[in-house]
């Protein structure tokens, strides 16, 4: 029992360090190490730290992360998303709020070849914000739809968050990628429905654009082709069983380079920038992942996760109440800190409990991914909101968050649907 108290103290100190601005991964490493030293011994702490640094950083399973990051970076730096936007606009731009819906749809499409929400948000902000302002869209709807569109970046595969969840929960990356596609499409539809509802109530938020002929629409699809081909090649290859996840990431890099070269959008300089940016993201993500493992070892030796799972199992509450409580913790966690950081801290704590409650791990993984995505647009700490604020002219952060509120409500409704109808996730496996 006294070790569990140590675990609780460890969690408190961890959060104290986090709020004093120690990077999330550093704090997990540090507390994990000190915790193992406190519970076991100094030698044990040294062994865990050294062995985990070496064997986890060099684990074949994690090699998929830098590869998908690089693939997304190449696509992003070579600016293929604007063609996607153009096509989406020609198809749905003439509806009320059409330009905002175009933003969501383009984000979903771009996400199919990009695994990061910040890259998706930044890309969409660059492409869509000028257009939205040209058509006199309200600032809140513009910023809200761009920031929210970005969250789709980690919903549709490939997705850095899904990969991390899969590896931490020992699920198959491919199964998880497949399981989230239908829920992702449903979420996209709900987000667009929200835009239609907003502009129906108050048309000044988003006037309709020009209508395009069928011919124009069909021609516009040409611009979608490279991204569609890449998606089919990379994820099709993974789903059909031609590639392992790592191979699909490597072929994704290869395919992205080929397409960017063929369409003459890639210079050596852009390639260099893509690499250097990928290195930073890789270092950040893997530090988080390995830090979470070291921190998880500390929790393991204290016995806290199992004790928590055992305790929760005995509670008289129905499991749904406990699940909702856990999701509420995620909502708060995702609000006050970086959602990805919170995700990796929390998985070792909560996962045994959720499994003990009898929930399907794959379904829970999908929910976690959705909750983590939402964290990027919830105030006060929402990465996507800050990106949009940084790139939008004269838009205060409060306006951005005012714009994301209705989308957050849609997200919460969507999570409710997943809980009420788990088949949405589970039918595809």
């Amino acid at each position: 029992m006294d070790y569990i108290i140590l675990a609780v103290i460890g969690l408190f100190v961890l959060f104290a360090l986090l709020f004093l601005r120690m990077p999330v991964s550093f704090a997990m490493f540090l507390i994990g190490f000190i915790g193992v030293v406190a519970v076991v011994s100094l030698d044990a702490g040294f062994n865990i730290l050294a062995a985990d640094v070496w064997y986890q950083f060099t684990s074949y399973s994690y090699s998929v992360i830098p590869l998908f990051i690089l693939m997304g970076e190449i696509i992003y730096r070579s600016g293929m998303a604007d063609k996607l936007f153009e096509a989406a606009y020609k198809w749905i731009g003439h509806f009320r709020g059409g330009m905002a819906s175009t933003t969501i749809l383009t984000s979903a499409g771009f996400s199919a070849v990009n695994g990061s929400n910040s890259a998706t948000a930044a890309t969409m902000a660059t492409i869509a914000l000028p257009e939205l302002s040209k058509y006199n869209y309200s600032k809140s709807l513009s910023a809200g739809s761009v920031a929210t569109g970005g969250t789709l970046g980690i919903i549709f595969p490939p997705s850095a968050v899904l990969i991390i969840i899969a590896l931490q929960m020992q699920l198959s990356i491919r199964d998880l990628f497949l399981a989230i596609i239908v829920p992702g499409i449903l979420l996209t539809i709900l987000l667009i429905a929200n835009i239609i509802y907003i502009t129906f109530k108050d048309p000044t938020h988003g006037p309709a654009g020009a209508r395009h002929s069928v011919k124009e629409r069909l021609i516009s699809l040409k611009g979608v082709l490279p991204i569609a081909i890449l998606f089919v090649f990379v994820l099709g290859g993974l789903f059909m069983g031609f590639f392992t996840p790592t191979e699909s990431g490597a072929f994704g890099v290869f395919g992205a380079v080929v397409i960017a070269l063929v369409t003459r959008r890639l210079t050596f300089r852009k390639f260099q920038i893509a690499i250097s940016s990928s290195l930073k993201t890789t270092a950040m993500v893997l530090m988080l992942v390995v830090g979470a493992i070291v921190f998880g070892r500390f929790l393991t030796v204290t016995g806290l996760p199992n004790a928590l799972a055992g305790w929760v199992e005995q509670l008289a509450f129905p499991s749904i109440v406990i699940l909702l409580m856990i999701l509420f913790v995620y909502l708060i966690g995702g609000a006050i800190m970086d959602a990805l950081g919170f995700l990796v801290v929390s998985i070792p704590v909560f996962f045994p409990t959720v499994v003990a409650l009898g929930y399907d791990p794959l379904w829970f993984a999908v929910i976690l991914c959705v909750v983590t995505s939402m964290g990027a647009i919830t105030p006060p700490v929402g990465v996507n909101a800050f990106i949009v604020q940084g790139l939008a002219q004269n838009t205060p952060i409060t306006t951005v968050f005012r714009g994301t509120i209705s989308f957050i409500i849609v997200y919460i409704i969507f999570i409710g649907l997943l809980i009420l109808f788990p088949q949405i996730v589970l039918f595809s496996i």
Binding site: D2, V39, A44, N47, Y55, R174, T244, E247
Partner: protein, 323 residues
């Protein structure tokens, strides 16, 4: 608790021993662990309790020995086959030697470890040791001749991959947990391991054929941190020593029964077909892999270890336990 200090907060005088393993829950090394823990608690009248950490949650295969030595866990289960270079003598026993089942290989290995006490285990207390039934080729395509196996990409644990090269196949090193997915995607054409995984990992779903030709074995050793051992009371030490051979036999027998069950299930429910080699073919295979053990004996001798003596004793013991 992960150390064996007397835990004052619970029953007075209770000793807690942490026990780390790397295979997933439910697999035979963990069944062995549970049985051992149960017997130990029983025979010490509840004086000793075991805290299990399975599936690599505390220590993973690659770091098991170093981790136990550093005191991360009091006890740890390691597979010497996963640590090539560290056990030159035991590597001789891994090579195909004519073990008929896990009951025989486990007892042979247990005796050999006791008699030859490998250098790498010097700083540990050996709790018990056992081995798998020989590995068999479990493949997507039927393999019943050297021509069939030529160029097949088969997953095998790294330490014994040379046996596949000798047979003309192309060995692939992959973590065990990636085997089913890799087979499904045809990244590999088959798997070479003890056959219980046909059922345990549902491999029978992919592998339609098992070639009836025994290959290498995997050796497991359970070690305890030396200092922890020394601090144990004498009666507990006695019980642990008395359990050593019992557990080896138990694990071998359990695994044999489990493999039989897995094969029955595979044949009946999944239509797995067992392919035997005809006489001439079997001789070709024997000739192809003959050199593996000899190479290992030679390597051990070069390092100043009694390789030949070990090999001789190996066959004596196999004969003894095969009766």
């Amino acid at each position: 608790s992960p150390n064996n200090e007397v835990d004052s907060s619970t029953n007075e005088g209770t000793i807690n021993l942490s026990y780390a393993t790397f295979p997933p829950p439910g697999t035979f090394p963990n069944i062995q662990m549970n049985k051992w823990a149960e017997e130990l608690e029983l025979r010490t009248d509840g004086q000793v309790e075991v805290d299990p950490f399975v599936g690599g949650s505390l220590l993973e295969a690659s770091n098991m020995l170093d981790g136990v030595s550093a005191g991360v866990s009091d006890i740890g289960l390691t597979a010497t086959t996963y640590e090539p270079g560290r056990f030159p003598l035991l590597e001789i026993a891994e090579a195909p030697s004519g073990y008929q089942d896990a009951e025989i290989s486990s007892q042979v290995v247990n005796d050999l470890i006791e008699e030859f006490s490998p250098d790498s285990l010097e700083d540990f207390k050996v709790v018990t040791s056992f081995a798998t039934d020989p590995s068999y080729i479990q493949s997507i395509n039927p393999i019943s001749s050297l021509e069939d196996i030529e160029g097949e990409q088969l997953r095998i644990s790294g330490g014994v991959s040379s046996v596949l090269e000798d047979l003309g196949a192309s060995p692939v090193g992959l973590p065990q947990d990636q085997v089913p997915e890799s087979m499904q995607t045809r990244v590999i054409d088959g798997n070479v391991s003890s056959r219980e995984i046909l059922m345990d990992m549902n491999l029978a779903n992919q592998a339609g054929y098992v070639t009836d030709y025994p290959l290498t074995i995997t050796i497991f050793v359970v070690v305890m941190n030396q200092q922890v051992w020394e601090e144990l009371p004498d009666d507990t030490k006695e019980v642990i020593d008395e359990l050593n051979k019992e557990m080896s036999l138990f694990t071998g027998q359990y695994l044999d029964g489990h493999i039989e069950e897995a094969m029955e299930w595979g044949e009946e429910s999944e239509g797995v077909e067992i392919l035997s080699l005809d006489d001439g073919e079997e001789e070709r295979w024997d000739n192809a892999i003959e050199g593996m053990q000899e190479d290992r004996v030679r390597r051990a001798e070069e390092q100043g270890l009694p390789g030949e003596e070990f090999q001789e004793r190996l066959y004596e013991l196999i004969e003894k336990y095969s009766e």
